[in-house]
Symmetry: D3
Subunit: 238 residues, 6 copies
Amino acid sequence: MRNGQRLANGLRQVNIEYGVQPYADGSVLIQMGRTHVLCAVTVEEKVPPFLKDRGQGWITAEYGMLPCATHSRGRREAISGLSGRTHEIQRLIGRSLRMMVDLRLLGERTFRVDCDVLNADGGTRCASITGGALAVRMAIGKLVAQSKLAAMPPLLPVAAVSAGVVGGQPVLDLEYSEDSAADVDANFVMSGDGRWIEVQTTAEGAPFRPELFTAMAELATAGIGRLLMLWDQDGWQG
Amino acid sequence: MRNGQRLANGLRQVNIEYGVQPYADGSVLIQMGRTHVLCAVTVEEKVPPFLKDRGQGWITAEYGMLPCATHSRGRREAISGLSGRTHEIQRLIGRSLRMMVDLRLLGERTFRVDCDVLNADGGTRCASITGGALAVRMAIGKLVAQSKLAAMPPLLPVAAVSAGVVGGQPVLDLEYSEDSAADVDANFVMSGDGRWIEVQTTAEGAPFRPELFTAMAELATAGIGRLLMLWDQDGWQG
Amino acid sequence: MRNGQRLANGLRQVNIEYGVQPYADGSVLIQMGRTHVLCAVTVEEKVPPFLKDRGQGWITAEYGMLPCATHSRGRREAISGLSGRTHEIQRLIGRSLRMMVDLRLLGERTFRVDCDVLNADGGTRCASITGGALAVRMAIGKLVAQSKLAAMPPLLPVAAVSAGVVGGQPVLDLEYSEDSAADVDANFVMSGDGRWIEVQTTAEGAPFRPELFTAMAELATAGIGRLLMLWDQDGWQG
Amino acid sequence: MRNGQRLANGLRQVNIEYGVQPYADGSVLIQMGRTHVLCAVTVEEKVPPFLKDRGQGWITAEYGMLPCATHSRGRREAISGLSGRTHEIQRLIGRSLRMMVDLRLLGERTFRVDCDVLNADGGTRCASITGGALAVRMAIGKLVAQSKLAAMPPLLPVAAVSAGVVGGQPVLDLEYSEDSAADVDANFVMSGDGRWIEVQTTAEGAPFRPELFTAMAELATAGIGRLLMLWDQDGWQG
Amino acid sequence: MRNGQRLANGLRQVNIEYGVQPYADGSVLIQMGRTHVLCAVTVEEKVPPFLKDRGQGWITAEYGMLPCATHSRGRREAISGLSGRTHEIQRLIGRSLRMMVDLRLLGERTFRVDCDVLNADGGTRCASITGGALAVRMAIGKLVAQSKLAAMPPLLPVAAVSAGVVGGQPVLDLEYSEDSAADVDANFVMSGDGRWIEVQTTAEGAPFRPELFTAMAELATAGIGRLLMLWDQDGWQG
Amino acid sequence: MRNGQRLANGLRQVNIEYGVQPYADGSVLIQMGRTHVLCAVTVEEKVPPFLKDRGQGWITAEYGMLPCATHSRGRREAISGLSGRTHEIQRLIGRSLRMMVDLRLLGERTFRVDCDVLNADGGTRCASITGGALAVRMAIGKLVAQSKLAAMPPLLPVAAVSAGVVGGQPVLDLEYSEDSAADVDANFVMSGDGRWIEVQTTAEGAPFRPELFTAMAELATAGIGRLLMLWDQDGWQG
């Protein structure tokens, strides 16, 4: 039995609070159990050089962790420099969020998504994507309210969840104690219509049979379906 | 008249929440109006090299700001490197907090105080000191509870507050809109018995008469007296 | 029809040359079509600090690209610093190669695998893994020949290959012109017994249906089977 | 009794030499006892980006120390990077010197003040300010002589001095042996008309009573009055 | 007797392969015995800022070494930063190659020469110059073929060779085992007409008599004559 | 005719002042005309790791330039990082000074020579070597005076001077205006007995005939003979 009586296919308690950073153009505090991530979006009226004069927008992400977010204090990356892990995660978040909207409908603007982990108990990259997508929606809504965009563009809901194999059994949404004991570790990013955006799977101790991948993918598909219900809740207009 | 009907000698609404980062040895979220700082203490069972084998402890601080804490998004210092302002502030916090206890009573331990600004509306360095002192007390209490320290050492309550001259008038605890218009800007760190720990005063537009300094010092002395009542509130044992 | 009459499930011409860097403990130049990667292994008689006194070895990788390996010259990372992409790739190579042997059978040694791309035409990370595994085998063989290891430990053959969806069709082992036009991009690392080690899949333009993933996985499984025949060729004892 | 028979309110011997760096637009070697600082000003015909097209000038400072300026050789900051202390000092010098002239009278120019410590025996930041102000005056004079400025703008003489509490007694202008034994350490920057520009006070071992601050401020006020007589000496026109 | 029966005035076996990096504008793999350097030229249609609008071109070099090129693996400079030795060598290569053509005949273009050492057995900077000059010629030839230059400009053949004093005897073209035992170490860069471009001589253990310099210069002059015959061989038009 | 009526074989006015940095173990201010370099030696009671337990000492150098030492202010290397030119010069100074004494007679000590240019008018690296050698002698003398060395070890006087070809004529000891117009630029480091330590020669505009090298070497040999008379002057025992 998992912590808190969770079943193999159970998600942790999810909670969303909008508007926690009032200076940002959109902000969300997402809590998945004891994992808490603050996602804030800044809209800049320009695009990176490689997109100059292409008539489209851009979505990019930065990821950080407060030093005391983890069990053993981490070094502040302002001192140690960005780790390889941070690079990897922020690239994943950016790629995933760029799938949620036709970038040509955003104008020549950059949506910069800051994902800062206040407390980490596993699944911080997935929570960053799930929360970041909601914060981007809020920022787009603000542009519409300010008449900078004529209308809300069609949005593809995007969310992410981890899955893994622990003690031989496929489970959904691992917390840290499970993650550190897992045989296989996977992250799934999907859209609201059941299509896939990113899949990353890593064998931890030994190679694994493809059937286990299939089982994890099924857990994730169901889990993401439930996470996407967050898109229907109130409050996102800040 | 100041925002929110505040008088010249009024503090903003202060709120303290303990235990917001459960992996830390002590943590405090301090809110002074719209300025929110998360202060978290990690106790390390060693001291910096220059204190090796001196039989004493050490208290040091690091300071950071989430990118969206301010009106215009700041660059992440993990990318840009620590600014001069950050260096200056974290040295000030460290020096101030080292006054709150006889370091020889802490054992050969380092108390590392992370002060991370979630929202900035003026006075973040002062809030970091006021909140950091409470978080250090909480971390020392945990050592006593764990029997790593035999008894609670005598603590000198420490707090800080800003003062300034705005439109010719001395005022206490400036928010950002006042700070950016001030003629003089000052920060006072004091102990519970009315003695001074650090005073920093800066003319913004022109040199100022010494009488204005005296008026600001009086405002600060009274304000810190009220802030130190936070030490008597419940909840700090986490 | 693909370049060089290749079928959707065809691999590019693969060639292995052993011993190209005689000062290394094992070295391999792997060519997959116009992608050329030099993989060289250095054996160090110590392990990283986090493995100290655990009685096991370690395998880690570094990845680089000569500035003129690509169509537009890349900046030298000795000047620009390691990119996020480089971090991501070298972590992937390291994790993959650690699956090929029980690390406890290597002694307290680090196998440092340098993968340097001389020419890049797509699939450099996969070529690095496929070639790196052969170079590690060569380095282990040298330890046995030097009697530093009593016997050759059991090795799990490991290889990697890319797959993708181009113009709606799943294809194997993409070259650069295909990769830059792909709808989906995937990398598969597998062991000789058909189990999976790492899978990374990324939607490039839009989310994709799960069936496409299944088709790519089948192409990759067959392709890796053919790549693993390189393990039976002569020459690896340098 | 202090070194060299100095009284508590005595300054060290002060000496100014103009023109020591002939390529600079203004340069001063200031000696306060064994503390020697070379202050050199370069005038650049542009302003920092944040002042673009505001029709005003700017004064900024950089501070350095030769490795052998101190008792134990310091690491060269070209190798170790700028320390927090250096950042703090150069920001203080810049803020202080910007008070000496109405920046709108300088044209769109930057006065870059390099303060390099040749020998350090306490009070280097104060000597940098006192000497830097004289070097700025010299550089402004050169602009007038070159007809780049129509007339000498009104200048507010600025100087700085340290004060402290040593063995319970307030003293002026501490040398290193006093500084390292002080209970309180303070730096005062003032203008020629007795107004204050910057005050920084730090408790070294324990908080201090406000009366001690008042005593230090009185010593500093008198000391700065004497330092400002340097402005009436010959030679500054280089 | 030297390795491989070489006489004191003997060169190692030299081999040139053109076109090894097809994406470059000119590329050469030069082998001098066991020293192998890959020289690749990229032509950029702009010049560095200091040459803007001067109507001339520029030639510059970067130098690197694969980690396993040397007997003990070297740290990757992408991690450790460029060493002083690397800076020194790439400045030497750039200065030397700029002598081979009147830069005004190249148009406002930069020829960036990447010299990457695959295997190092002494003399890598000399091999980089000798090979780099051939790669620059190839790149200029490509510009002519593309009609970007009207005609091949006159080229001054340039090559370089090391000399040294080993066991009291002057010798030419040292390999690593000789280099590390040498009393004097010298590098000569010369043009095809017997004039000198760069000479660097270093005493290793003790100062040396000027006559030894004369003997080394004579060896080098003869050796460079033979190296310049590489300019008459086929294949350089890639 | 050269500035100040100097003949082609004339040195600029040389002046040495000892003891200018009293905290250093040896210090010299050397002035060659308008080139002024402060050379200071720190003796550390340890050697670099690669010399551990070899029973010998080490001499190494660091080189810097005050920002206003040159006609156009240079960026502070504490901000920009060490340039390639700085690396090259400090390696040259270190190699040259290590020739002046049998390192086994120094004990396991490092002599760290800081050469800081106060004013630069050509020839700063040569002045650093000539002055640095005198400062090292002074530091060794101090060790003898402190009985840390039993006796003064035999010293080989070392000095350096530049030569060049200006307007077709070989000249000695170039000042900046000559250096920037030179066809050939050379630096010679020699010992008191006429032997050579380092020779660096660079063609500036075109390759040069070997006869010009011979002429420069003769000028330098005579010039260094005169510079070495500085070793017989008083004052070096500080």
